[in-house]
């Protein structure tokens, strides 16, 4: 079992003919993901390798039955690309693009509230069900199929670090999700925690957060009330100075709120096993999940 993506995922790629789009589409295909279509306006009829390209998401969906989309469209047009996918009824939308204006994402989020589509990202590495389906830019080989750990994170390479440590401890993953480092995103910690709690194969959860906002505090409250599986947590940014954006648009301590210390305290109070030293996260998971 897994959450959100599996062997039934039929993926289209918006922005498939760009440099990033091409490269990562090939990586996904090589991993075993069923990539059925690409979308680049004005390039209908062309092919990227064997994958047919369409002008619009609606055309691509009608012709191929795609039910998921991975978005590599540049920031000025990315919000529109998400809305186009949602409007065409795509169930799972994974937006990799970094640098979408907040105002655009606020409109997208309010629009998606009227739709059934699930958005992951933006500014994220994507989602992978190891051994089955990779929708994103994460390196496939560091993952280990079969569970028991579910991973959810706001980061990219930090997630790879965590997954690598799990794999080295012999702990496989059911699904790993990067929810993105932007202040306004689609799927949040709570959505993933609820799905992992409901997934029988997931027996433990790793949650990787960082400074900024209150998503980790909200997640901690949810865990206390609804999650019975063990959760190991990590928060990046203990040493981040206040008022500065630490690379991710959403990673900022403002006016004393959104601090790593506050998040760690909230997580501990909710019974989460908080790992304060990244170097020891794999070992801690091995001890907690055994």
């Amino acid at each position: 079992m897994s959450i959100f993506v599996d062997q039934h995922t039929r993926l289209m790629v918006q922005g498939i003919t760009g440099k990033e789009g091409q490269f990562h589409t090939r990586q996904c295909v090589a991993y075993g993901t069923r990539v059925v279509a690409g979308v680049t306006p004005g390039k209908a009829g062309q092919k990227m390798d064997d994958i047919p390209v369409f002008n619009t998401v609606r055309d691509a969906r009608a012709a191929t039955g795609a039910n998921a989309s991975m978005i590599f469209v540049p920031p000025p047009f990315a919000a529109e690309a998400i809305m186009e996918a949602a409007d065409a009824g795509i169930e799972m939308i994974v937006a990799i693009t970094e640098g979408i204006p907040v105002m655009d994402m606020m409109r997208v989020k309010n629009y998606l509230a009227t739709k059934t589509s699930r958005l992951i990202g933006p500014n994220c590495p994507g989602i992978i069900t190891p051994g089955s389906c990779k929708v994103g830019i994460m390196p496939g080989p560091i993952h280990k199929p079969g569970g028991p750990a579910g991973v959810v994170s706001r980061s990219g390479t930090l997630t790879y670090e965590v997954v690598h440590q799990l794999t080295r401890q012999g702990i496989g993953q059911t699904t790993c999700i990067g929810i993105g480092g932007d202040p306004v995103n689609g799927t949040n910690f709570i959505d993933c925690l609820a799905a992992f709690q409901a997934d029988p194969e997931t027996r433990g959860i790793v949650m990787v957060g960082e400074i900024g906002g209150s998503a980790e505090e909200d997640a901690a409250a949810f865990i206390a009330a609804h999650v019975t599986k063990p959760v190991v947590g990590f928060i990046a940014g203990l040493t981040a100075p206040p008022g500065r954006r630490m690379g991710h648009a959403g990673a900022i301590v403002s006016g004393g709120s959104g601090t790593a210390q506050g998040k760690i305290a909230a997580m501990k109070a909710s019974g989460i096993h908080v790992c304060e030293n990244l170097g020891a996260l794999g070992e801690m998971c091995a001890a907690v999940f055994k």
């Binding site: 920031p75 204006p101 306004v184 940014g237 203990l238 040493t239 630490m246 990673a251 990244l278 170097g279």
Partner: protein
């Protein structure tokens, strides 16, 4: 991106948002002229820096004569202003805003911010203007009116009424306040603001509503559609190394420790800073060279880290995923040769082709110390700078 108060007020004027008459001055002579142009005293001399709390720090003064303007402007210009937002090192003042004094009967607080959790634009207002709003929020939250606006429908009249009645405005001020709020909201959306704050917003004896202060920040990710704002950038307000890094699209933030570090990815970079501190040393910077760092990025990163004279050791932490470790190792070696590295460098890399990468580093003949994992890396670099 942050701008100065005088620039924010320029922007306000283009939206017909009432602000006091005033002019910016770089010398005390210019300040005197700006004061005389206002045609009367008292006037207010305000330090222009990218930080709040200027009044408490001694950067805002009332002047009753031209002579006083010259004296006060002379004192403020060139001073190092320390406020709760500047940090203990303070900020050097290079310009002042000289404004007419107003006959104020009420001071209010008004701000517009994007709320990340609800994806709405929130208007916050309080009758307790002129105070530190975070203090008001903590002590007397009932004194703050909060009205969320769904960006899909935009500001409606009822939103404005909720704010205005919540503030208990005097009757005559109601209409100008509502008109002003509409314009502020428009400016906020038009320019992709990440913060618009007026503290205080004042009601004058003749029931005019005027933005006595103006603080506006913009979403960096939206600057591509606001090229006109780039003229407002003030390099004197930024760290020189951060300016240099931004030229190469490197995400660099200067800190005050002595362990330079270079990492691919923002989350991992923060976690690396944390682990340096946990090992007993202090990070000199945050530097994210991007999820797929190239040799060129690594080289520029090296140069910038080494221009910080406090740096006594460097930790490179790269998780090679799509980008293989052997390619990265070659990049590090090439960059180290070209830059001429003067301090010990600990390299921790992990991921695809890591053995080959470590071999390249070991055989380079350079003073590169290989670490087996994160803990090991942090301990090694902490020992070097101890």
């Amino acid at each position: 991106m942050k701008i100065h108060e005088y620039q924010a007020k320029e922007l306000f004027r283009t939206y017909d948002i009432p602000v006091p008459k005033g002019g910016v001055a770089f010398t005390s002579g210019e300040a005197e002229k700006a004061a005389r142009d206002l045609g009367g005293f008292p006037v207010v001399v305000k330090a222009q820096i990218h930080a709040g709390g200027r009044g408490k720090g001694g950067g805002v003064k009332l002047a009753r004569s031209a002579e006083e303007v010259v004296r006060l402007a002379g004192e403020i210009l060139g001073m190092t202003l320390v406020t709760h937002q500047t940090g203990p090192e303070g900020r050097k003042v290079g310009k002042v805003l000289v404004e007419q004094g107003l006959d104020i009967v009420q001071e209010l607080y008004l701000s517009i911010i994007p709320d990340r959790a609800s994806a709405s634009i929130v208007i916050m207002a309080s009758a307790a203007g002129g105070m530190d709003i975070e203090e008001v929020a903590a002590r007397t939250p009932e004194k703050i009116v909060k009205v969320p606006v769904n960006p899909l429908i935009g500001l409606q009249s009822y939103h404005g009424r909720e704010v205005a009645f919540g503030l208990g405005l005097p009757g005559g001020a109601m209409k100008p306040f509502l008109a002003m709020l509409g314009r502020l909201y428009k400016l906020f959306v038009d320019y992709d603001c990440s913060l618009l704050e007026i503290n205080p917003l004042v009601v004058t004896r003749d029931e005019k509503v005027i933005a006595l202060d103006a603080k506006v920040n913009f979403d960096d990710n939206a600057l591509f559609r606001h090229k006109d704002l780039l003229a407002y950038r003030d390099l004197a307000e930024e760290n020189p190394l951060e300016i240099e890094a931004s030229k190469f699209n490197l995400n660099y933030i200067a800190l005050d420790g002595n362990v330079g570090n270079m990492v691919n990815g923002a989350g991992l970079a923060m976690a690396t800073m944390d682990i340096i501190q946990q090992a007993g040393a202090r990070p000199a910077n945050f530097l994210d060279v991007g999820g797929g760092a190239s040799a060129e990025m690594v080289e520029n990163g090296f140069r910038i880290i080494l221009s910080d004279k406090n740096v006594k050791g460097i930790l490179i932490n790269i998780f090679g995923g799509i980008l293989r470790c052997d390619v990265l190792a070659s990049g590090v070696v090439q960059a180290a040769r070209q830059t001429g590295i003067s301090v010990p460098v600990v390299v921790r890399m992990e991921g695809t082709n890591v053995e080959e990468g470590r071999r390249i580093l070991a055989e380079s003949g350079l003073n590169l110390i290989t670490a087996v994992d994160l803990k090991d890396a942090a301990q090694k670099v902490a020992q070097i700078v101890a």
